[in-house]
């Protein structure tokens, strides 16, 4: 019920997203009709193909047409790979999702303890180090971090595998269940593949994690400072509760709320950085798909990608809202 109500509030936003995406891609340069017509086509043939593709109709008609196809999950066909965009996006989604989730876990695993440590001793060297390190992380262009990591760990040290996507060329993907190689390989009991997949994931995930450390560490620090300075912590201290209980059960659980809210921004960062990171690591996910399509002015994938990313983001925000509700009884009861 709560889910439905939240979904309803997201509807106008989704509508806005669809309209914006449509307008954006209708304005994309490049004429698919010319491409489809082939190198030796006459202008008449190009017109014919344009008519067949429906590009000669008025904008509102095209929009209705677009909506109709969208309702059937049809996002058009990619020129470069010749496949339906929807299929390709869906087959590539797990690759991006696995990467982003691992990056998120990595980022949280580093940023949250860092933020807590900084909040425990504001103004201390730990605090300053936390601030400088995270700020440096968010200042590094992800594509540069990625290149740097590849250069050092693959070209120079040879400890990382080639930046060639999800698995070594001679490894075959584990039987598909979730589409996440880490999970699928474990399900299949194939530890070799698990290790290989993890090896491929480490560098791109680290690249993304470095970029998203800052917002998480900062909000953790601020929220922890806020929580630690709040009156109920004073009460807890006055009640003689043990320090770890005060920090983790009392302060941290309250501080987690703003951290969850910030995840929205972190996801925005990630979905954007994803494009650049995937390009650097030849990751067969959504981002590299979009970049390749963009370079080729292949507009259907770009449109599909932007739309999918926006929908994904709306969905993630929805999930964040729901998780927030699970943690915070106040929200839960209001809804």
């Amino acid at each position: 019920m709560i889910v439905l109500r939240r979904l309803a509030t997201a509807l106008p936003v989704i509508a806005g997203v669809i309209v914006v995406t449509f307008l954006l891609t209708r304005a994309l340069p490049g004429d698919p009709a010319v491409y489809f017509a082939g190198p030796a086509a006459t202008s008449q043939a190009i017109e014919e193909i344009r008519h067949r593709l429906g590009f000669d109709r008025t904008l509102p008609v095209q929009f209705l047409d677009y909506l109709q196809r969208l309702a059937h999950g049809d996002l058009g066909t990619s020129l470069t790979t010749g496949q339906p965009v929807t299929t390709e996006l869906l087959t590539r989604l797990p690759a991006s999702a696995e990467l982003m989730l691992l990056a998120l876990c990595l980022s949280i695993a580093i940023a949250v303890p860092l933020g807590i440590a900084a909040a425990m001793r504001p103004g201390s060297p730990v605090d300053h180090a936390c601030r400088v390190v995270t700020t440096a992380g968010v200042s590094l262009p992800t594509f540069f971090t990625g290149l740097l990591l590849v250069y050092v760990f693959y070209y120079l040290l040879g400890v990382a595998p080639a930046p060639l996507g999800r698995l070594d060329v001679f490894d075959s993907a584990p039987p598909q269940h979730s589409g996440f190689y880490l999970i699928d390989s474990l399900l299949a009991g194939d530890f070799e593949t698990f290790r290989a997949a993890l090896g491929q994931l480490v560098l791109p995930a680290a690249t993304m994690a470095i970029f998203t450390l800052a917002p998480l560490a900062r909000i953790t620090r601020a929220a922890m400072l806020g929580a630690l300075g709040s009156e109920f912590i004073r009460t807890a201290r006055a009640s003689g509760l043990a320090r770890h209980r005060i920090v983790f059960v009392y302060a941290f659980r309250n501080a987690v709320l703003p951290v969850i809210t910030t995840l929205g921004m972190v996801f925005s960062f990630m979905l954007g950085a994803n494009v650049l990171v995937e390009k650097v690591f030849a990751w067969p996910g959504l981002g590299s798909y979009a970049v390749e399509a963009l370079i080729a002015s292949d507009y259907a994938p770009v449109q599909g990608f932007v739309l999918m990313m926006a929908l994904l983001y709306v969905l993630l925000n929805l999930v964040i809202d729901l998780v927030y509700g699970l943690v915070d009884p106040r929200v839960r009861l209001e809804a």
Binding site: P122, V138, V150, A222, V275, L294, M309
Partner: protein, 281 residues
């Protein structure tokens, strides 16, 4: 005013990092202002005999594929990179703040429209939206500026809206209203100056993000035209040389790019300490 200055002095003294950021900022500002004068070589002059030489006394940061001096190109690129960032943030600031003030002060349908627009922009992962906009509008600097402005707009609109909403019925606004000031005058003359300090903090932070964004766009090929020097595109060009060991082509522009963003972020933090000592985020 002197109190603010004294407080600023205290913050800078207390926090050497902020002082460092301000110093770095002046260095970048200098490069932006005097770029071509400071550059040791003509940033566009090719010298194929000297192509792809590593850092040396003659070329501190080495040369690129066409033998152009990388240091000179980096120095000259400062104006463009900062220019893109400053212009786009100025646009975002201007339009975002006005829209936000309007929405917060008047409420009603203005608030509705602004809110819906902002929500829609925020529904996109920002970099992806910027990508889409530049791809759609065309591959040039002006469109990078617009795209960066659009994705930064919601931050200002939301901030301004929230502040205006809170202050709408504050004493000084009521007083101005009783004095017979027009509504627009109240918004611009009373509300705007009051929210300026907070906004300035945001400006510094978004400047850093704007630089990153523009560089990211040029990295994927949505950028400025060759042979223009721009940090992002220089990293992209250098990326292909890393494998053959010519690391300097990508490394130096990347490091400078990072330093610039770093500088703005630290400065934003410093400004926040000055403007809003309570919120220690």
């Amino acid at each position: 005013m002197t109190a603010t200055l004294r407080h600023a002095g205290y913050v800078v003294r207390e926090n050497p990092v902020t002082a460092f950021a301000f110093a770095l900022f002046f260095l970048f500002a200098l490069c932006a202002a005097l770029g071509p004068v400071l550059a040791p070589y003509d940033p566009f002059a090719s010298d194929t005999a000297e192509a792809l030489t590593g850092p040396s006394a003659a070329h501190w940061f080495g040369t690129d594929q066409l033998g152009r001096d990388i240091l000179s190109r980096i120095v000259v690129a400062t104006r463009l990179d900062l220019g893109i960032a400053v212009t786009s943030v100025a646009l975002a600031f201007g339009f975002g703040t006005l829209a936000g003030l309007g929405a917060g002060y008047y409420g009603g349908w203005i608030d509705g429209i602004v809110g819906r627009g902002v929500d829609t922009i925020m529904a996109f992962p920002l970099f992806v939206l910027a990508m889409g906009i530049v791809a759609a509008l065309g591959n040039n600097v002006a469109n990078i500026v617009y795209a960066t402005a659009i994705i930064n707009l919601p931050i200002y609109a939301r901030l301004a809206r929230a502040e205006a909403n809170v202050r709408r019925s504050a004493g000084f606004v009521e007083a101005a209203r009783l004095c017979g000031n027009s509504e627009a005058r109240i918004v611009l003359g009373q509300l705007l100056p009051n929210i300026m300090p907070l906004m300035m903090v945001q400006v510094s932070l978004t400047l850093g993000y704007a630089i990153l964004n523009a560089a990211g766009l040029s990295f994927i090929g949505l950028g400025v035209r060759p042979p223009t020097a721009e940090w992002g595109i220089m990293v992209a060009e250098g990326a292909s040389f890393i494998v053959s060991g010519e690391w300097w082509v990508a490394f130096f522009p990347g490091i400078v790019l990072m330093a610039a963003v770093f500088c703005f972020n630290l400065m934003g933090d410093g400004l926040r300490d000055i403007v809003d000592p309570q919120r220690r985020t």
